[in-house]
Symmetry: C2
Subunit: 336 residues, 2 copies
């Protein structure tokens, strides 16, 4: 399976390491032999139509900070150049999410689909801004579009709701979908002020370069858009979410919640309305998890409420979700 | 799809009600038209090769306490009689679990398989005593064998671990798999003695007719056997489980746990050894759920630890898991 990999940050590198460490097992168990034919980062690209040497690629990135130095002929091909000039079955999009125009991910995804490539995205931007039209584009071009890693990182939340609960009707759901704000709110519950908790989260590397994505609830809202479209068949995008972040949460809000045996959590919910806002959650509710954990509770018609808890981020975790998507595509292609 | 239904207790009745209430939807969405051709309870049976009138069946059971009065010719066909004399594609086994000889469920399942019927079981007995050989028998006879409802009731725990985590390697797991003992231990944490808590659980109808199944950990051990075979590819049965129940848990154990910010929970775990025993769990661990809730935490190689929480029992919940199995069988048959 030939792959174009867009972006080579923590997730991209973790994925390639996974390809290396599990190559025998992936081939023996699933018939999957991933060949990365092109990859780029912010400084340049590496290309080999017959498949890059993945260990050399990781080594080059580690030693020189960019994949550009992989070969002597320094390339600076963009994702679009690669889609036009390389043969590949799958494009994996891992560049940073943005919720203004979703570029460059949006162009990578739409161009790849037009070139009949299957697409795996862990970039939430394009899905948050254009889920319904991206699904249509995939259907029109008869390609698969997978995005397991966009919600829950390595925790297969989308798959659980869509597949494990098949035959069921989910009537509502609510979740803590952003680990960074949960970490900050947990530390505020433990006595820190908002500013102290934010500084601590920054020191630990938990906060996005654009802190607004976490603090103003945009990351949680993007995940809510994806869930609402995928699980509830709603046709919505970011502007449909009523979104409030955690900047206005005060120490006294936290104390008041504690008096009610509750904790303040940033909850993304779908119950007729789509909403992200800090609310009080009873501390003995399974949803009330602490630290950087994510949690989501699905309420269905017959099976009651079911909660899934796991880490919502992390390079290797998110890479494992890309691998799952890739195995699905492999299986589907083999069937045709 | 023609079905023989063994047992017509809470789960069997809930399933038939589900067939009635969702008949249009099941046909339109999944092409499933369930026809129950035979059913029996402890007092008699009802049979119609062209399909029983399900509303009449529920009504008869409600008014007279048995399906025997469904038609004027009072039948008392056993499950084995039905398997021999009726044409059906699927046998659904819902009689009570026992861990001595697993009868009559064991005979229903093995005979159905030999007659080339697919089997869905929510009866844990046969699986706990003979999982490996039942799987072999199913393979030999080329029939499907499904048992989603045996662990977690309506919460699709087996499916989550097997399918949603595909491509992953689960290295260990631990869970609260019996709601009744969790209810008792929760009430002991809230100040009741063991005997008071047990009486309360009995009053609420949570305790099995044979209380040993709950209190001595047999129910949890049976579920552990099923998980170990299905998820971890171990070939084990009940005698392989090191099993301790909750009868020896004292108020002072509970108090000591509380001092350590823990609660005593009956944990079934698979981490090299297979074990059921009451242990201290930190109260801020996602696994530490209260009341009748079940919870299970899977630790996998790449995606970290993921916890699923839900109700582990209930008629309609368990019926919804049977429906999922039936949809899988329908889908698989359609493919062939």
């Amino acid at each position: 399976m030939r792959i174009i990999l867009c972006g080579f940050g923590v997730v991209g590198q973790s994925l390639v390491k996974l390809f290396v460490s599990r190559s025998e097992d992936l081939y023996a168990k699933y018939g999957l032999k991933p060949r990365v034919v092109g990859v780029f980062d912010s400084r340049g690209s590496a290309v080999d139509q017959s498949g890059l040497d993945l260990e050399k690629l990781i080594d080059t990135k580690k030693k020189t900070g960019t994949v550009k130095n992989y070969s002597k002929t320094k390339n600076a091909l963009s994702g679009i150049d690669m889609i036009k000039n390389l043969d590949a079955e799958v494009l994996i999009e891992t560049t940073a999410s943005n919720y203004k125009d979703a570029e460059p991910g949006m162009s990578h995804i739409t161009n790849a689909m037009k070139h009949k490539m299957h697409v795996i995205s862990v970039n939430k931007g394009p899905l948050a801004l254009a889920f319904p039209s991206l699904m249509e584009l995939a259907t029109y071009n008869q390609v698969m579009f997978k995005f397991s890693g966009t919600v829950g990182g390595g925790t297969p939340i989308l798959d659980y709701a869509k597949n494990s609960l098949r035959g069921e009707r989910i009537t509502s759901f609510a979740g803590i979908l952003n680990g960074t704000t949960n970490y900050i709110l947990t530390n505020m519950t433990n006595g820190l002020s908002f500013d102290e908790a934010l500084q601590d989260a920054k020191k630990k590397g938990y906060v996005e370069a654009d802190e607004s994505l976490d603090l103003d609830g945009l990351d949680a809202a993007a995940k809510l858009v994806i869930l609402a479209n995928w699980i509830m068949d709603m046709k919505v995008t970011m502007p449909d979410i009523d979104c409030t972040g955690i900047r206005t949460v005060t120490t006294s809000d936290i104390k008041n919640a504690a008096k009610n045996k509750c904790a303040v959590k940033l909850i993304a919910s779908c119950n007729k309305e789509l909403k992200v806002s800090p609310i009080e959650v009873p501390i003995d509710d399974p949803l009330c998890v602490n630290g950087t954990l994510n949690a989501i509770a699905f309420t269905s018609e017959h099976s009651g409420t079911q909660t899934i808890i796991g880490r919502g981020a992390g390079g290797i975790e998110t890479a494992s979700s890309i691998l799952r998507d890739l195995l699905d595509i492999r299986k589907e292609i083999a069937r045709i």
